[in-house]
Chain length 354, copies 4
């Protein structure tokens, strides 16, 4: 489906009461080419959006319909912001020319066995992967696969941060991938609105705590998949996310061994080359390190890289807003490509700081 | 000066390294009619904007010039984001047809004696006041005074929150103003980048603390001025701001005695009437109370009102982003009026939440 | 019951999995005269304390029993940290010589009608009120009523903050009480472990928001009761709590009109006199204002007072740790009095700062 | 110097206005055997402690003297809470039988070359290292070296967290140390009261940001030293601290490759054995991970370990309060050993949570 800039594109959002759906709506409300159609929810059907997402002022009076094919029909685009497992059935019932964008995990992995190992359910199939900047071993980028696509699987937020940090080194062959270590500082919105004691403000304030330690996090196979696309042959990764007291943001510290024989002075050039022309991935000047606050609310990923010669490792740090570049912004960016719109339409690079 | 929407308006910003200047630039960078010209600073002249305001990605390579009339000349608009006392001299040297917007305090007060009492320096004169929604006793609103203006004094952030909360009751005569009490929860960005021990993160995290207690805060005469414009005859106000651990936001709880003989059931209508047509002031549905997070990064003020019959008081709560509706958003909104642009141009009503 | 300092006092805690019960245990674990006996819970019975309160290292292996008279029998002291409504029945079944300490609301109010109006259930009766510093109109203090008591109703946390702030002025007759206004900044632990969306970290971080606005908060009749004990005849209060992003702490800004004919210079003396000999209430030096961080984890209340002559109001600010002086510390302090121990035993005045 | 428990030990603190000195005083004020003598400061000499450390209520009226040998003379113990470089000279002037405790870095490293490389100044010499739990390759622990000591070098806070996390695996030979990766989440109090823009609350709130990336942090040689004491032969470590929005706490995620031929099932036993009898290091039950909030204000280190077989790495996570177990608590614990007091005197294991 190719849109001209004068046609409004009608978008329905399934799961409009959650954080991912709400964030897509925040971006869509200020997108020059999107028109917001049906909004659906499960247990919140019947409520106004204003009672659940009071920050979305221009949509406050919209009433949520029950999630189902009926409500979603008749739109150019359907955004699925649903728990994993729920989007496959709905997607199957949508006409083939409707652009379906899945913010959930169901259609990200190409390896059905890895899906089943980490998610414990049957694999729903693979959709074009919504990380336009993903480097391919053949020198192309993922955005080519998104132009004109009618199905888009938006990446996991942690995956985006780690992939953007490491992939230039993989593609250039200056790092080894068989002993990657990534530790992330994560804001609480990544956990969604689930009502669990450890997600309460009283528990979170003043606390830093890890979760899914020791190789169990579901984003691990997706990182392996991306680095393999970028050219890695054997990816092993120790991955530890930690919750820290902020609502949004991921700061991913990802390190890998310097490839034998690599001139440390040559490392930075790989990152310069990878991101020189990317509108949403910024390699900071040498010596300046990313902070999540720099990109709050923006679709920008900020990256920095250094060589620790004594440790024999390349260290990368990447900051994103988990709900924007990590979720809804990636969806809009990929959707722009799918619809033939300017890739940057409706997306902002300036963070809300301080 | 009247602009047509096809002319780009060139804006210079004096004080681009501070929070107020940076926020104006964040908004201006995404404004359809503004073009960012010279950026100046005092001690940071010579540095790139990216080293000081790394969230402003599209302007990262801009170099700051020394603040002075030379750098600011030749622009359609000059924004002064300077410490109070500094803008008067520069403003005096600008041609009369340049639109000067003062984000500082110098030109807000009409009462020179009040200025001298609270600021301890000679009064620099009064400019048209940049709160378009300010109600006048004659039924008009302040936006009329801003159309075509070449000088704009942007209000104090706390003043905006308290004024928007209380003025409907003043104008409608349903509250008394001789014993107003306002207590505010304030984010730290309101204190600017001043290097003071009590503004350190280590001191702020986990802490709530008042400042300028007991009638000394400089925003008091400005609140009195606004409520008088709205029709009050005698304004006395107990005003206490408190710093709480957030970067942005003001939550103003402002209460006033119910006017004798007022039917409590009639109170809400005053607020409904005042804000029904305002694009940036939203009276929430009954029972829903504002949170600062609802309007982070947005130009929206959220207001709620209730009558506490047992206490004999009307209670209002208003949430704004101190740097947007409280400062730079008010500047853009007023500037839009001054330039004959749509009042809402370049301004967003959706907050970045959660 | 009078203990000598050589007898260990055996204490059972009903509701050991919640914040109030946990905090009592934190203090009791380091109290020289208390020995911790049975710990009970409702839905968490059977779990280890370490799995629910991992900060209580010395008690980590204790197993929670089901809450009921059986488990609680045979102790010198029973602490009830239960939802309101639940303690009355259990208390009734305890022998009269057991010291029962209720951290909940059931036994605080003397006015059954006020109870029924604000809590909507039958009144369970009144116990001696656990605020030792409460001033009585006859010049005595509440601690006299607590010596040897076998029933203790621990005050509400907000009530303690507002009462300590205002009562010196009431007792000395320098303020009027018919138009008190109190606005509080509250940490999230005051809301307990209830699983509600607005208590999630993702919602709380970066947000300030009021609740129970407009005269509905259940602590209002309790404040009225205390100020009446201190000598007020007609208490009307506008009371607004606001949640701010910290786990612990209450900062209460409470103002009242200066009594006619009062010399402003004489006001401070009332506060000096009231608290000169109090071990846990500190009037700060003139010009220094309280912060909640100053008293984190401590049983100290920090108070400051100023006269705003222009507004005609006395402004007081009080900081406490809601779980210590606001709950469990007040319980220990009152229990010390009941048991004939030094009032300060097991209580610390130094806050954990920064 | 051996004390009996009936003698009060007189302690002077040089640098009482900073965070480390203040924290030592917080602990000392509640220590059964310590008596607080002279308090000194540099630029704050002449001020009351209450104006600078208002949380230390019992010492609020103490006046700070200028730092120098004169004020410090005549005490049994002198605690040096000074910037690195300042303690050597003062220590040299103290009588040999005075117990000097250095909270700074000057006397920690045994390798003068490493000192000069990382600190850029001449080495001041090495004092007994104040980490009682440090494992020695010969099976002994560091506490033996502290009994009766008259000089104590308190470890760096990050060093303590990483060492306690990894040393059991080093001593048991189940991990390799030539490719350790550690990433830490750090509270802002670790940066002290330095007035720097990036330490302001407005910058910190909502932000996670790394610093000293790429092998430059001064704690690196100290970690290498400790792991070598524990039996490592070749230690290479990639070390990245990140500031997150909390005042206190370190959460250290430290990983190392599983030693070839090691049975993953045997790994945990090394940690069980190392810490079974330690009063201040707690290995959590399997599956429970540490949070910094669990140990706020306490001298407890909480440790967990897991094997990530797919990644071939052992992952450890350690939480401490940087100002207690990371600084002042380690000082008290070591001082207790030096003075012949119970090692646990005046130290608390219960954290202030939530």
């Amino acid at each position: 489906m190719q849109m001209t800039s004068t046609q409004p594109v009608r978008v329905a959002v399934a799961g409009a009461s959650g954080y991912a759906g709400g964030e897509f709506l925040r971006l869509a409300a200020n997108h020059p080419h999107l028109e917001i159609g049906a909004l659906t929810a499960h247990s919140n059907a019947g409520a106004t959006l204003g009672s659940l997402q009071p920050h979305l002022r221009s949509l406050a009076d919209r009433v949520l319909e029950p999630t189902g094919v009926e409500a979603l029909a008749g739109h150019d685009v359907v955004v699925l912001a649903l728990p994993h497992g729920a989007s496959g059935q709905i997607a199957a019932a949508l006409p083939g020319d409707v652009v379906a964008v899945d913010l959930g995990a169901d259609h990200r992995l190409t390896d059905a066995a890895a899906w089943e190992q980490f998610y414990g359910s049957p694999h729903a199939g693979t959709w074009p992967y919504g990380l336009p900047e993903l480097l391919h071993a053949d020198g192309s980028r993922q955005r080519d696969a998104l132009r004109g696509a009618t199905r888009i699987a938006v990446p996991g937020c942690n995956v985006t941060a780690v992939t953007l940090g490491l992939q230039p080194g993989v593609a250039a062959g200056v790092i080894e991938t068989d002993d990657v270590v990534a530790v992330l500082a994560n804001g609480y919105s990544g956990a969604g609105k689930a009502l669990k004691t450890h997600l309460l403000a009283s528990e979170a304030l003043g606390a830093a705590a890890p979760y899914a330690v020791g190789g169990t996090h579901r984003h691990i196979p997706e990182i392996r998949q991306n680095l393999t696309v970028a050219g890695a042959r054997d990816v092993r990764i120790s991955f530890t996310p930690t919750l820290v007291p902020m609502s949004r943001g991921i700061l991913a510290t990802a390190t890998a061994r310097l490839a034998p024989g690599t001139d440390p002075a040559a490392v930075r050039q790989a990152w310069v080359d990878a991101y020189a022309d990317e509108p949403f991935v910024h390699l900071l000047p040498e010596g300046q390190w990313p902070s999540t606050a720099m990109t709050l609310g923006a679709n920008t990923a900020l990256v920095q890289v250094a060589v620790d010669a004594a440790a024999g490792r390349v260290v990368t740090v990447t900051a994103i807003d988990n709900l924007v570049k990590g979720t809804a912004g990636a969806a809009v960016q990929s959707l722009n490509l799918a619809l033939g719109l300017p890739e940057t339409a409706g997306l902002i690079t300036e963070g809300v700081a301080p």
